[in-house]
């Protein structure tokens, strides 16, 4: 939700900017868009569709998640010349590293998780178990690269509860920039 908000905000800024400049808004000239679909399908099954989210054993789901991220790396690399993509690539790299070294899941501490769900719900999750869509509940001392985990929270007064990583911040900035400042056709095709 937080990342989709950055996407929508970037799109509105880009549309507003184009209107102000009296130019048509150009979609980013993405290459090999089919790779995104290939990469996203495993995640749809293991993380997003409620009916299938827990069908696969955790090791297979974690492997699918890592493989999916590697395909996303290929897509982002092919489109690296577009504005915002280098920032997004940094975020993807940070998330990929922390996920790969923590058994294929994004680590989250019980302290951070307690801000997202109520205490009773959290007590039913044991440390080392899957939490939410792509996370694993781990004690900070058991995490690798704890600084890259889902450790940031929105302010308490904010109605939407979410924990996000440093990589997610870069991804949000990158997608915002990509849509707020769309590339010209030649810029995207130069690589």
């Amino acid at each position: 939700m937080i990342l989709l908000s950055a996407l929508i905000l970037g799109l509105f800024v880009g549309l507003g900017w184009a209107r102000w400049k009296n130019q048509p808004y150009q979609a980013p000239p993405l290459k090999s868009m089919w790779l995104v679909l290939v990469a996203f399908l495993p995640q749809l099954v293991v993380a997003y569709l409620p009916v299938s989210r827990y069908l696969l054993p955790d090791w297979l789901a974690a492997t699918s998640l890592s493989a999916s991220l590697i395909v996303f790396v290929a897509f982002v690399w092919l489109n690296r010349r577009l504005p915002g993509m280098p920032i997004l690539m940094v975020g993807l790299g940070l998330n990929l590293v922390v996920i790969l070294v923590n058994r294929g899941w994004m680590p989250i501490s019980p302290f951070t998780a307690s801000h997202l769900v109520d205490g009773n719900a959290l007590q039913s999750v044991s440390v080392g178990s899957r939490f939410g869509q792509k996370d694993i509940l781990l004690l900070p001392q058991d995490m690798h690269f704890e600084i890259l985990s889902d450790r940031f929270l929105l302010p308490d007064w904010f109605p939407y509860k979410v924990a996000f990583s440093l990589g997610d911040i870069f991804i949000a900035l990158g997608i915002f920039w990509l849509l707020a400042k769309p590339a010209s056709r030649t810029e995207g095709q130069r690589s």
């Binding site: 990342l3 993405l30 679909l37 990589g167």
Partner: protein, 48 residues
């Protein structure tokens, strides 16, 4: 019936290639951010 078909024809003629490209690009980018990001929301998954 013919009226509806005519309306549909007018509507589809307004959809140009750029609009289709924009929709495809936004859909691809939405999948990209959902795929590469890993935020954990209280209402978007919860504990297993």
């Amino acid at each position: 019936m013919n009226k509806n078909l005519a309306r549909l024809a007018i509507f589809t003629s307004k959809i140009n290639r750029q609009h289709v490209q924009l929709v495809l690009a936004i859909a691809a980018l939405a999948m990209l951010v959902l795929g590469v990001g890993a935020p954990s929301g209280g209402s978007t998954g919860g504990p297993h």
